[in-house]
């Protein structure tokens, strides 16, 4: 469904190009979920910007369903949608939920906007009374649901998730992750999930790459992530951080 081959990106700096991503390749089958694990400065957000057409790669290409994503026409954009990290920042504070959700529909010239907004809200577990509220009247979890509804309202095939739960409390994180999994199954969505949280990635994804200073240092299957089977020293370091406190949480079965 999504194929990325030999992707490179750099910014023009004062002393020549500054490489941000180097030679990134991976592919995700339809309905699959691919994880990208990395810390700040690893290039993971840039990778999502490239995948969503917000920036153009310097080298390499992105294939969506076999077709190269060169010109980001409206058609391509509706196939790939983006859910950002912070629902406090990604919803316009002066626009109602109704207009936030209706906007992608209007842009793509769709009909039946009110009915579809209501349906989209229902799919993420919010009732119709949320339509005329403003973002500040919603909790963080509710806002992230709205952001998910907005991404899904034009029926994309690929959804890019940039740390979708790192701004949320753990109990709310559980609700949002469950929702994402349900929607993925229902609609055969393809996910690319960027996160620094190994447990979240292992829970959501089939495979994941560890991104470090712009390069993929290792690609792991979910079961390797769980078992802690990795060979690169940086992945090992991430693994050690993720396993802090685990023995104390051991639940007697």
């Amino acid at each position: 469904m999504l194929e990325v081959s030999r992707l490179s990106f750099s910014y023009a700096g004062r002393h020549g190009p500054v490489p941000i991503l180097k030679d990134i390749s991976f592919s995700v089958p339809r309905g699959g979920a691919y994880g990208v694990i990395g810390e700040s400065g690893s290039g993971k957000s840039t990778l999502l910007r490239l995948l969503s057409g917000l920036a153009r790669p310097v080298e390499g290409q992105i294939l969506v369903d076999g077709a190269p994503a060169v010109r980001w026409s409206g058609k391509m954009r509706r196939r790939v949608q983006f859910v950002m990290q912070d629902p406090y920042a990604s919803l316009h504070p002066l626009k109602t939920i109704n207009s936030a959700l209706g906007e992608p529909l209007r842009i793509h010239g769709e009909r039946d906007i009110p009915a579809r907004v209501e349906k989209a809200l229902a799919q993420v577990g919010l009732d119709a009374s949320f339509r005329f509220r403003f973002p500040h009247q919603l909790s963080g979890g509710q806002r992230q649901r709205v952001a998910i509804a907005r991404a899904l309202i034009i029926n994309p095939e690929i959804v890019l998730l940039d740390e979708p739960t790192s701004a949320l409390d753990v109990s709310v994180q559980a609700e949002v992750l469950n929702l994402l999994k349900d929607l993925q199954e229902e609609r055969q969505l393809t996910f690319v999930l960027v996160s620094h949280d190994l447990a979240v990635v292992a829970h959501m994804c089939d495979r994941a790459s560890v991104l470090h200073s712009g390069s993929i240092v290792e690609t792991l299957e979910a079961r390797d992530l769980r078992a802690g089977n990795c060979s690169h020293p940086y992945s090992k370091e991430l693994m050690a951080s993720a396993r802090v406190g685990l023995p104390a949480l051991e639940v007697e079965q």
């Binding site: 949280d197 829970h203 769980r226 951080s241 104390a248």
Partner: protein
């Protein structure tokens, strides 16, 4: 231990009056701690930061505080005047905040900020201050302490900034450190190094530590005892090793809602927010 408790908080209430009415942010919180590592865990809005901040008397101006008593090492913090609080703050109780980008002064070098602690509290002269600052920077893991001393905060990474912050708090040899989400602004691999440093310092110097976090795993790994807060109340108090045996449904829900690396589940457990937990309230206090 027969010594008197380091901190004793009894029947603490904190509320705010807002346009839409009164908000009870902390309700009837009581606990006692010695020179131990105490974790306070709760989700946003649970009152964990307010509870710890009232020890330093740094609550927002519109907070209404009532308590039977708040005692720090025999000193009544709840009735103390501003002058007395200033002698406690920074001198005997240190605080480490979430993001070193905001808690360090961007216009002063690390050296100026560390030595300022000494001069404000009149602990010693400038030469002693400098010697101690360099010692502490080495102790928190800087191999090039002289260079760090001359650096401004923007020249340090997040993890370095937080370690400099820890060194700064140790300048006056406090008895208690309050760390409010000290690593949530840091990358995961840096997080552990900072926590290990803080942990080593607290143990070596036999200080008390209040570690506030939303991260149950982290608190379980670095604290002796954990208070679980929910909606302004302490719902359960546990020793860290007993976390798996937690009885309160809220604690259980917190433990179960985390995705776990060592256990595969199809769906994560979610909180039943409508549940009636009032009868459980203060069960652990």
């Amino acid at each position: 231990m027969t010594e008197q408790p380091l901190v004793e908080i009894s029947a603490l209430d904190i509320s705010f009056t807002t346009k839409s009415g009164r908000v009870d942010a902390v309700r009837g919180v009581s606990f006692t701690m010695g020179r131990e590592r105490l974790g306070i865990v709760g989700e946003s809005g649970s009152g964990k930061s307010l509870t710890a901040r009232c020890l330093l008397g740094i609550l927002p101006a519109n907070a209404e505080v009532r308590s039977r008593h708040i005692v720090f090492d025999g000193i009544r913090v709840d009735t103390a005047g501003e002058a007395e609080m200033r002698r406690l703050r920074g001198r005997r109780i240190g605080m480490i905040l979430q993001d070193p980008k905001y808690s360090l002064n961007p216009l002063l070098t690390v050296s100026q900020q560390l030595c300022e602690m000494f001069s404000i509290h009149r602990v010693g002269n400038r030469a002693e201050a400098r010697a101690k600052a360099i010692d502490l920077l080495r102790a928190v893991g800087f191999t090039d302490a002289d260079r760090v001393m001359a650096s401004y905060p923007h020249e340090l990474s997040g993890g370095m900034g937080q370690r400099a912050m820890i060194a700064m708090m140790l300048m006056t040899d406090p008895d208690l450190i309050v760390a409010d989400e000290p690593t949530s602004a840091l990358d995961v691999t840096v997080k552990l190094k900072v926590l290990d440093t803080m942990d080593r310092m607290v143990r070596e110097r036999r200080m008390g530590l209040v570690l506030i976090s939303h991260d149950l795993n982290l608190v379980a790994a670095y604290c002796d005892r954990i208070l679980i807060m929910y909606r302004g109340r302490v719902v359960e108090t546990l020793n860290s090793p007993d976390l798996a045996a937690a009885r309160h449904p809220y604690t259980r829900a917190l433990v179960d809602s985390l995705p776990r690396l060592d256990r595969q589940v199809d769906r994560l457990k979610t909180l039943d927010r409508g549940a009636d937990w009032t009868r459980w309230e203060n069960a652990g206090a």
